[in-house]
């Protein structure tokens, strides 16, 4: 981890302590499966497993975005449900820290289905629900509800098969880059380093376009805490300062600008994983309206 950044007043910022013990502790556990769908055309990591979702949020501060309809209340957009869509920096960070492994979902599941069919395994999709909506486990009652499960629950730990369909991080990044022309190799590395900088200060990081920036930073889980900052990555101009400063101050945030210290302006199309996973140092400033003028 890098702590070479001399701009950070780390003495009064408790967030800057990095909990290394927690990361190493995890290595004894099995890595979290990060299923990739549409690998070649639009690679996306979607989490369907509730336990994984909990671990990501509780232990690693990975928020992702819930994009599924909450079936109990399917006509509103405040509260959404599984799947959880991770954004690219979250994915890279999880892989770099050996917390997650990427899986070619469609091919893995197809092969698994064949195996299950050959064994004659098939899960039931009817259950018995009580009037209050809770599941009735007593076998005496006959099923009254037909359901779709979030994920497959049979034989979820076929390690050989998982291993066979694991995706190399380089392949994932290459697919991502070839499908996202606004991103290039060097920009990808810079932006990830900037993400990692906030992540290592234990901020909870969300995408920030709604607030006019690249990221929104929360001091902890946004379920309980207001966001502190809107972050603009890399290049800025005076307009950004005027607009960003005004905007964030109005909603009790500040506007943070950040740049990779040793970034070069070269536009690389390829990515070296070594360079991506190397430590970096950042120049950071926090901007707010001065309150006069």
């Amino acid at each position: 981890m890098n702590n070479s950044n001399d701009n950070i007043a780390s003495d009064d910022n408790e967030l800057s302590e990095i909990d290394v013990s927690r990361l190493s502790l995890h290595q004894t556990k099995l890595p979290i499966i990060l299923p990739v769908i549409n690998l070649h055309r639009d690679p996306q990591v979607l989490i369907f497993d509730l336990e994984n979702l909990k671990t990501l949020r509780n232990e690693y501060g990975i928020l992702g975005v819930l994009i599924g309809t909450l079936s109990q209340y399917p006509q509103q957009n405040f509260f959404l449900s599984i799947p959880l869509r991770l954004f690219v920096w979250e994915v890279i960070w999880l892989v770099e820290n050996n917390i997650g492994v990427l899986l070619d979902q469609v091919n893995y599941r197809k092969e698994k289905l064949l195996l299950q069919n050959s064994k004659g395994l098939k899960s039931s999709n009817t259950i018995s629900l009580n009037k209050d909506g809770s599941v009735n486990d007593t076998s005496s009652t006959s099923p009254n509800f037909i359901i779709t499960k979030n994920t497959d629950e049979i034989e979820n730990n076929d390690q050989d098969l998982l291993h066979k369909h694991q995706i190399n991080i380089q392949d994932y990044i290459n697919a991502y880059l070839s499908n996202n022309p606004q991103m290039n190799g060097s920009k990808f590395i810079r932006n990830y380093h900037n993400y990692k900088y906030f992540k290592e200060l234990k901020y909870f990081v969300s995408p920030g376009l709604k607030f006019g920036g690249d990221f929104v930073l929360y001091p902890s889980d946004p379920l309980r805490f207001h966001s502190h900052s809107v972050v603009k990555l890399n290049s800025i101009n005076l307009n950004d300062i005027v607009v960003g400063g005004r905007l964030s101050t109005g909603v009790k945030k500040n506007f943070v600008v950040i740049e990779d210290k040793d970034s070069d302006d070269k536009v690389d199309d390829d990515i070296s994983i070594d360079k991506l996973f190397t430590s970096s140092s950042q120049t950071v400033f926090s901007i707010e309206w001065a309150g006069f003028g």
Binding site: H228, I236, L238, V242, T283, F285, S286, I287, A290, G293
Partner: protein
Amino acid sequence: MSIESDKVNSTTKDDITEHSLSEQVKLNLVHYNLWTNVIIHDTTPSPSSSVISGISPTSKQLEWIVPKSFTNKDITIPEIETWFVQITTINTKRPSKLIIAIVNDDSTVVYYNIHDGLVKPKQN
């Protein structure tokens, strides 16, 4: 928005403009925002930006101000870093924040705090 910037050698004109920019901000601080002890510091050899210090009527604190003209919108993060370094040469200590004064061609001056590093927003 990048328009023509093939600058001809016109340092003298830039110097005048730079100086008047500081004067403009000083005037605004003293007679519009009612600051006291406002001083323009010459930061030769770098003509890119001069630095102003003064005492704010609300906080009664010594503040550092860097004027910028809104006519040229370009600014970089390393440039902000050099301002902090410049102030350090005048003040012996690196300040925890400075104020950027952005001067528009209609004489409006807008001020933004730039804190060194990542800080929490004001809580109120």
